[in-house]
Amino acid sequence: MADFKIDETIDITDVVCPITFVKAKVALEELEDGQIISIRMNDGEPVQNVPRSIKEEGHQILKLIDNQDNTYSLIVKKVED
């Protein structure tokens, strides 16, 4: 597994759809172009849908890591418009 230099982390396991994506989107907006964020999300609906929404916003997804505790961490590189 490639290593990433994580610039920021955010936990969205405390919210439900659609706030999951909103919280992630807000966190991404705070970053500089090219910075990398790790987004921790719940298994089930968040991990099914949030990665795709982030892709559709134009950011680059690098990895989805199974934390083995029913959560996943999505590693995303910010891409400015």
Binding site: Q48, P51, R52, K55, L62, K63, I65, L74
Partner: protein, 288 residues
């Protein structure tokens, strides 16, 4: 002079409880109306109706309270705004559709284009009974494909390209049916579990998943006095030409074998499921 109600019904004028009063159904394809058409509908509803419209359960518009004596004038007036009357009775009805992949991120096919294609081919075609087509862009099934006599559902015929894959694992979790697994730096795809929703392709951050537009067709759906879920038994349909060859065959089967007042589902039941399947499978396999 006696009023020819069946001719009026054929022309979209639905008799109301109130004497000599009609609710005029308009021709709408796939739930889309141009602003210019809406403006004309507004004018006609104001002048000849009671200043409102009714949205039907099949994405059409009706203008209630049109007087018998105004019918010809109303038709001419609507025509000026590019609005045509719809139909009722034993013929091909309004083709319903979602907005499809030109608008919706989940869409796998251009539903509007398919609805227009079906409409051009079949709208108002005389048949033993009413006949409904519905087009939905994906497995989310917003347009309830299986409640139609012939329902069309958008699918994505997906393939994985190892070279493009970064093994991020997103697709494995995006799949709701457990058709994907990641093992030994490979994605294993169990097509027997796949419903062609396209979520793997849509979630893939690289171009490791490729998908081609395809169609799933269901036959014999009903959602009125009797309820029956339309049945899908064909493999993926991979071109528009093939799709239309199949819909041509289905509608012709109904035209040839249906009894007056009998819905498609009951014709298939009476004539025999095997015979119908055989005709459709032949259409699937050739001649387009």
């Amino acid at each position: 002079m006696a009023v020819d109600y069946s001719a009026l019904k054929k022309g979209g004028f639905m008799r109301q409880k109130q004497k000599n009063t009609f609710s005029l159904r308009l021709a709408v394809v796939g739930g889309t109306l141009k602003a210019e058409q809406i403006k004309k509908i507004y004018e006609v509803a104001e002048k000849y109706g009671q200043g409102y419209v009714h949205l039907t359960s099949r994405q059409s518009v009706e203008i209630p309270f049109i007087k018998l004596e105004d019918i010809e004038e109303v038709k001419i007036e609507l025509e000026k705004g590019g609005v045509k009357p719809g139909v009722c009775g034993p013929r091909v009805r309004t083709v319903t559709a979602c907005q499809g992949n030109t608008i919706c991120p989940s869409g796998n096919i251009d539903s509007t284009k398919i609805a227009e294609g079906l409409n051009d081919r079949y709208f108002a075609r005389e048949l033993p009974h009413k006949f409904k087509f519905g087009v939905t862009g994906c497995q989310n099934n917003c347009l309830k494909a299986e409640e139609n006599d012939v329902g069309i559902k958008g699918a994505l015929d997906v393939h994985w390209n190892k070279d493009q894959c970064i093994l991020c694992g997103v697709c494995v979790k995006a799949c709701r049916l457990g058709a994907l697994k990641m093992e030994d730096n490979k994605i294993l795809f169990d097509e027997s579990k796949c419903n062609y929703c396209g979520r793997c392709e849509k979630s893939c951050p690289t171009s490791a998943w490729e998908g081609e537009n395809a169609y799933i067709v269901s036959f014999g759906g009903l959602f009125g006095n009797t309820i029956n879920k339309g049945e899908s038994f064909l493999p993926l349909i991979k071109s528009e030409a093939q799709l239309y060859h199949i819909t041509d065959t289905a509608i012709q089967f109904f035209d040839d074998f249906g009894n007056a007042g009998e819905r498609f589902h009951f014709t298939i039941d009476r004539i025999g499921r095997d015979k119908f399947k055989k005709a459709i499978e032949e259409a699937y396999n050739g001649g387009f």
